[in-house]
Amino acid sequence: MRKIWLNPGFWLVLAIVVALGAWPIFQQDAAARETGFTVLLAIVMASSLNIVMGYTGYVSFGHVVFYGIGGYIGMYFIDSLGLPLPVAVLFGGLSSALLAFLLGKAILRLRGAYFALATIGVNEAARTFVANFQPFGAATGIELQFSVYKAYGGALQALWLVYYGVVGIAIFSVIFSYYIKTSKFGLGLMTIREDEDAAEVIGIVTPNAKTWAYVLSAILPGMLGVLFFFKNGNVEPGDAFRLGFSIESLVMIMLGGQGTVLGPVLGALGYQRLRGTLLTSDLMIGSLPLKDFQLVISGFLMLLIILFIPSGLVGWLRQRFATLRRVLA
């Protein structure tokens, strides 16, 4: 249980993420790289949300706020202060962590649906604030000068550089996720998930444990936000705080299996495959193309999962085949 490197489940999930990340690098193909970006981003968002939702049992609809805030802070540092990308990425992660810490103290006192609603409120409040905040370019956001990329060997080179960063963070995110799950701290989180009142009686300092879970879930999305908006060259309030992105992360976790390490990874992969298929499909529903129904479909998917396999793919497999428990972390 304790020794990470002895557990096949750890190696399986690590191998999947490494393979996914490495494939575009071997191909040296821009299209493969773009797919890689999307899938790895999804994996990190789902895995980090899983710490709060799957381990601790607090459903959050506002996870994207950390991606957005981190992204904005990083872009501001690059654009206005001329800081190098790695430093901006670190600051992005730190500022998201700080936000989570402050929020955690305030809204993690709420339980169940109240917490979930509060997270939506926080995301909308952040979006409105940023859309009116002059230093962040208000409604138009921040646009990088093309010359910024020169320091990284030109735009093309910079894209690959960002990609390596994303691969690194994605690999780190599953190791991190596994490590937390098998730690004493993680056991405390799962105790809170199972029964928060019992957890307090047992001696878990629940306000602190929950706040730390929230902080740890916020860091990697904050770092990724910086990388993605740097890659795009601009950031706008609508992209940075897109509620739909939070909901998609949630669907991915539910699809793969909340509370497991592998679940969010498989869920992210599966969901992005499905989305890719929908987006490139020529099918029409009435006079509308099928791809406009993406969120409808993800909503429907979530409904089906909740009704039929509430523990997700990995959870279902673990229940069904006890022998798989060692392999499916």
Partner: protein
């Protein structure tokens, strides 16, 4: 003789309902206090107040000589208090062993996972559910869940243990086993407050008995003395002859 627990004139209300009225007692180190009384007398509420789940409206609680009134449950756990719940609260999606590891990890001894796992295995065999260690806690039957509650509390190696009806729903032979378990916990130097309806068992394990009725203490003293107190017999069942019968059966 040092006092591990002092409850001083504790009053607890739920809206208009007076659940506890000026309840006062002391527990000496290493002793077992049996807490009895009819259904709804306020026994579990008293545990909740001692344990920091509720804050009393009036009165004070002293644990290890310190005023702990209004402290959170987790602060009390860190000082060495542990309890079981009348309505069991297993961590269903965790294994039985993990349930007990949590108890050892987060109690006052603050163990890491490795030493907690050792303690868990000891405690699980002590309460007799080692065979279930790798099962999910949700899959246990009621008697096993009661033992799990006990194991999780014991894994904290508490100084004070609050047991809320750990015998309820057990067969007579299981009760005998559990009584032995409680006595050997006491012999390890743990002070215990035990709520119980099974009279014979509670009389066997308790050094003293404390009786609640409608939130009021109506008697306190040695087991024999208390159960022959007519006031107790009357309060307990409203019918002295019935009470007598129950005691003989128990």
């Amino acid at each position: 003789m040092t006092l591990i627990l002092q409850v001083q004139a504790v009053t607890k209300r739920f809206g208009g309902l007076q659940a506890l009225t000026k309840v006062t007692f002391d527990l000496a180190q290493g002793q077992v206090l049996g807490l009895i009384g009819p259904n709804g007398a306020g026994k579990t509420t008293l545990f909740n107040v001692i344990n920091g789940v509720y804050t009393p409206e009036e009165g004070r609680i002293l644990f290890l000589g310190k005023d702990v009134t209004g402290k959170k449950s987790y602060e009390l756990a860190k000082m060495g208090m542990a309890r079981t719940h009348q309505i069991v609260r297993p961590l269903k999606e965790l294994t039985v062993r993990e349930n007990v590891i949590v108890g050892a990890c987060y109690g006052h001894e603050n163990h890491d996972l490795i030493s907690a796992a050792k303690i868990a295995d000891e405690v699980l065999s002590f309460v007799g559910i080692s065979a279930r260690a790798d099962q999910l806690a949700g899959s246990l039957n009621v008697a096993q869940k009661k033992r799990l509650e006990m194991a999780r509390a014991l894994a904290a190696r508490p100084k004070l243990l609050l047991l809320d009806e750990v015998l309820a729903g057990l067969t007579p032979s299981e009760i005998d086993g559990m009584v032995k378990t409680v006595l050997s916990i006491r012999d390890q130097g743990v002070s215990i407050v035990m709520i119980e309806h099974v009279m014979k068992a509670i009389m066997n394990v308790s050094d003293r008995l404390f009786v609640l009725d409608y939130g009021q203490q109506i008697a306190e003293g040695g087991p024999e003395e208390v159960v022959h107190n007519p006031k107790v017999i009357e309060a307990y069942l409203g019918d002295p002859q019935m009470a007598q019968k129950l005691m003989e059966e128990g």
